[in-house]
């Protein structure tokens, strides 16, 4: 029996894949960035060259980029997880702060001689639990009181901001600089000596591996478990899921709790790995960048991994822009433009769909012509991929010849 892959999905062949749509959003975002740089009379190519130089030119910079990507991966996963259940989690900054303050307080008070093998899992679990509680709050409000999760998470962001503002001077203040917490000793952060020396003192830490593990865990939950199936069902059609006997309210709460735990883990890697202090009165903007990461990655763990690295390059590379006189905020502008274009992916998708559709139907026409010339009576959808390609080539010449003949 012929087990070659047969083209029997003509509909899919005519549709743009999410990857193409995401890449065109990136392209448009970069074009918008170029336009902004041109507007202030600077050279955009020099700007992007500096960004790449600043992010990737030596091991230390690569380490820093991966260190920055770590929290972006985790927050992207958090946003994506909620998104799969039809919830929009823009509470990641608050959840990060909660995770960060939990980790920082524990790092400050736990004994220094505690073995790391016990210490590290302890702070990871503690910060995940507090973050889960913080995320659960907005899920609970949504499920029980119908409070829109966007508004409630924003309010919880500011509440977390003021909690941190209150907790830093209360528990972990650095007496010499009264607006920052006392730097955490390196043994109590997520940094590892071998990683630090490997990447010549960069900010890369164990968090990166935690993030990769979480990518796998999220993929597993969403694709391989009943819980994941239920959550996705609620996300695609709430009423249908309810009719099928899935507990919608419970799913919303669980989903927000897991999203909160992931974002708060991102906060832990940010405050106790990437950096080792917390500042009073500062909302981490990485929480909002996580939305871009999730959307650009099409909410799939693999996509999120790569889009987080891309945004990590943008965010770390912009530091080197100073030499060209371009404001570093260009990176944020590009990120925001990319989100706008991913939100409007309908137009991108329909553009590519139209293009693919016309090219596919042209190919189909060519194949049909070639089959006719050969006297083959098989349908187009019965051909294998190689045959299809071959016949398309033959047919093209035939169709072109016919047109000239006319």
């Amino acid at each position: 029996m012929n087990k070659k892959k047969v083209i029997n999905k003509p509909l899919e062949a005519r549709k743009a894949s999410p990857l193409v749509v995401s890449l065109s959003a990136v392209f448009l975002g970069i074009v918008a960035g170029c336009v902004f740089i041109l507007c202030i009379g600077k050279n955009p190519f020099a700007g992007f060259e500096r960004i790449l130089f600043g992010a990737l030119s030596n091991t230390r910079r690569i380490g820093n980029t991966l260190g920055m990507s770590t929290q972006l991966i985790l927050i992207g996963l958090s946003v994506a997880f909620a998104f799969k259940t039809g919830l929009f989690n823009i509470g990641a900054p608050g959840q990060m702060l909660i995770g960060g303050i939990t980790g920082s307080i524990l790092a400050y008070y736990l004994p220094m001689d505690m073995p790391r093998i016990i210490y590290l899992p302890l702070i990871v679990i503690a910060s995940m639990l507090t973050g889960a509680l913080w995320g659960f709050l907005s899920g609970f409000l949504k499920a029980k009181f119908n409070v829109h999760e966007v508004v409630s998470t924003i309010m919880l962001n500011w509440i977390a901001y003021w909690i941190v503002y209150d907790f830093i001077p209360r528990f972990i203040i650095d007496p010499t600089i009264s607006v920052k917490s006392k730097p955490i000793e390196t043994v109590h952060t997520l940094r590892a000596d071998w990683l630090t020396s490997l990447t010549s003192f960069s900010t890369m830490n164990y968090g990166f591996f935690i993030a990769i593990v979480m990518c796998v865990v999220v993929w597993f939950i969403l694709q391989k478990t009943t819980l994941g199936f239920n959550l996705k069902a609620v996300g695609s059609n709430r009423f249908c899921a309810e009719y099928a006997g899935i507990k919608v309210n419970r799913s919303i709460m669980i989903s927000m709790a897991i999203a909160g735990a992931l974002a708060s883990l991102g906060g832990l890697t940010y405050y106790c790995g990437y950096s080792n202090i917390m500042e009073m009165g500062k909302m981490p903007s990485e929480g909002f960048d996580g939305i871009a990461v999730a959307l650009l990655g099409n909410c799939s763990p693999v996509g999120i991994f790569f889009s987080a690295i891309f945004f990590g390059i943008l965010k770390m590379g912009r530091g080197s822009l100073a030499a060209t006189g371009i404001p570093t905020e260009i990176a944020d502008t590009i990120i925001a433009t990319i989100i706008y274009f991913t939100a409007t992916n309908v137009i991108l998708a329909s553009f590519w769909n139209g293009l693919f559709k016309s090219s596919f139907s042209r190919k189909e026409e060519a194949v049909a012509a070639a089959l006719k010339a050969r006297g083959d009576d098989r349908g187009v959808d019965k051909l294998s991929k190689e045959e299809f390609k071959q016949l398309a080539k033959e047919g093209k010449a035939l169709v072109a010849g016919k047109k000239e003949g006319r």
């Binding site: 508004v151 309010m155 939305i291």
Partner: protein, 317 residues
Amino acid sequence: MELWSVITSIIPSAIAYTIPILMGALGGLYSERSGVTNLCIEGLMLFGVFSSAATIVKLQAIPGFSFNLAIVIGIIVAMVASTLLSLLHAFAAINLKANQVISGTAINMLSTAVSLFLAQTITGSGNITIVRAVIRQNVPILSKIPVIGPLFFSSTYWTTWICLLLWAASWFLLYKTSFGLRLRACGEHPSAVASAGVNVHKMRYIGVMASGLLSGIGGACILVTYAGEYNAGSGINGLGYLAIAALIFGQWKPLGILGSTFFFGLCMTIANMGKVFPIFQSIPTGYLGMFPYLATLIALIFSSRKSAAPLASGEPF
């Protein structure tokens, strides 16, 4: 009486804090009533703050240029700039049928990034401070009335009266004219309106642009009244989201949002000026700062259950 003096100093400030939130919520009202969910009030207001700050600073630097005229021009520029930004949201939401929540969030981030980017190129720093804001004045005659006079008519900004006028005009426009009826119907049952021969897309564009215009005024009011500067670091502290919450709390009705925004304005005043009053002095700054957001959350718990949201809000047509 000590309590009376506390009240007379809180209420005028509360009104000053209320007005920007009221303008944002009123903008949200237009947009949501026409059927477009608008979460980008925050971004639109921030853009209003930035554009008016940049304009006023440039104009006030010209020797001999009238300070008050500069402020008026600044407010107009903010209106235009925010309306232009809101067009981006309108285009995404109405023509491209995009996810309106994501598009709104994108506009918020875009506004933060673009305004900071432009501020860096214009002034070289993330802050723009204007030389002189609107001066508080007592309303003649009315401020002499006992009780009401010192509460509502003394040391007011002239912008407050314009904004209240806009609020009243909006109420009239939305509830007493056929245009208002059509706009509201677009948010409830767009296909019915379309079958009556009204262009739903046009009405929704008007709704979103009105929200941009009003949020721009709101942003400019923040600048020319109590803030006096554009600060990229703190932005506008989530006031735009408070406006959306006020819209929900006020059940999408003009009178309702007037009441709810005043409540939030009062909370903001207590948070920002709490340290001045002896009764709040023992409370730590963190708890005072948290108060408006916590109050909002609690208010939402009580008001979200039987939500009177426009039926078709957020649904592309």
